[in-house]
Symmetry: C2
Subunit: 218 residues, 2 copies
């Protein structure tokens, strides 16, 4: 619990902001801008067993660990969520997130609907979760963004569209739904969600003491 | 349900924004500024049996009705909440609120904790309710604002402070709690709450149709 809450001195518990979307809806840009704009929230760094690619930094892009270590962490329930994708493990370690939340800082998660479901299923994290689904404004817009290279074969684009349609089918599991028509409006909407959620009564764990002081004339 | 949702074309259902606070915490100023700033929300006009005061307009400040009419409305359950104060009735008529919510417009309620409890107890309004409690930053600040005239006898100020302490004891029944340190920040916080709540999945009643269109490539 922190005593820093913007201009307020009320202790608060941090929150877990989950952003999910089909690829091509602008989530990565929005995440980056939100992190740049708001110093009270930071990105959760995942663990992975896949090999480090050129330019990636251990502890920044991922925590690169071996499979035995990852499996040990699974057994000791040290992940908030994890998945195996094409033979590699990816997961969110619980301890650093818990520490941030406890000190009144917020954590951003860029995960898909399956990871979000795992977070939601945890009794320990449910109350801290704020989930946002980002949608593209139109199919045409999505297609345009997924068509990264003009020479992409038709079936590759069709495959990406099918994957996007599958991800989008889970929009109704989220607390908030944004249609990303333009980045500035969407960023403003995300910031409003963060501001509002920080003002939720149950997150302001120091409020009880504060009001007691007010009522007793201190 | 409206097709006007700021820049979005998704149908949404309106919400009921309840502001409560001890008098002297700045709620009236904040309400007025919010209404001036946001054309999608409007103040709920109460019915009352008390006499019209000079300058008050029927249908704007209150709907002025007689006691028999008021009691008939109570019997037909036409109020969302009502109270009797010093022999006069005050109440929020249900029909105009329902009509506004259904057309995607939001309604602001400036009511105390007792009115808020009545709204909360109604099955019909629970899902539409967003409740905000506004607190003064300090007892000294509250006292200063309650001391409207320098010549107020001490016991009058003490009485007002006791009433404020009583109202404040209900802060924990609200969804959001704001400490009104300065009007600009508090107004911004209120606007963020409104923006966020409008983006809640369950209020965007047109979203299901919108996503269906996206997934089917329309």
């Amino acid at each position: 619990m922190s005593n820093e809450n913007g201009s307020s001195a009320i202790l608060r518990r941090g929150l877990m902001l989950v952003l999910s979307s089909p690829s091509g809806a602008g989530k990565t840009t929005l995440s980056r801008q939100l992190l740049d704009n708001d110093k009270q929230i930071q990105l959760s760094v995942s663990c992975t067993t896949r090999h480090k690619r050129p330019g990636e930094r251990d502890g920044v892009d991922y925590h690169f660990i071996d499979t035995a270590t990852f499996r040990g962490m699974i057994e000791r329930q040290e992940f908030l969520e994890y998945a195996e994708v094409f033979g590699n493990y990816y997961g969110t370690p619980r301890a650093p997130v818990e520490q941030l939340l406890g000190s009144g800082r917020d954590v951003l998660f860029d995960i898909d609907w399956q990871g979000t479901q795992q977070l939601r299923d945890m009794d320990t994290s449910r109350a801290d979760l704020v989930t946002v689904f980002i949608l593209p404004p139109s199919t045409r817009d999505l297609e345009k963004r997924l068509l990264t290279r003009a020479q992409d074969p038709k079936e590759v684009v069709a495959q990406r569209m099918a994957k996007a349609a599958d991800e989008m089918s889970h929009w109704a599991e989220y607390d908030y739904v944004l249609v990303n028509r333009d980045i500035a409006t969407s960023l403003n909407n995300l910031k409003s969600i963060l501001t509002a959620e920080r003002l939720k009564r149950e997150r302001q764990v120091g409020m009880s003491t504060f009001v007691k002081g007010l009522r007793e004339g201190r």
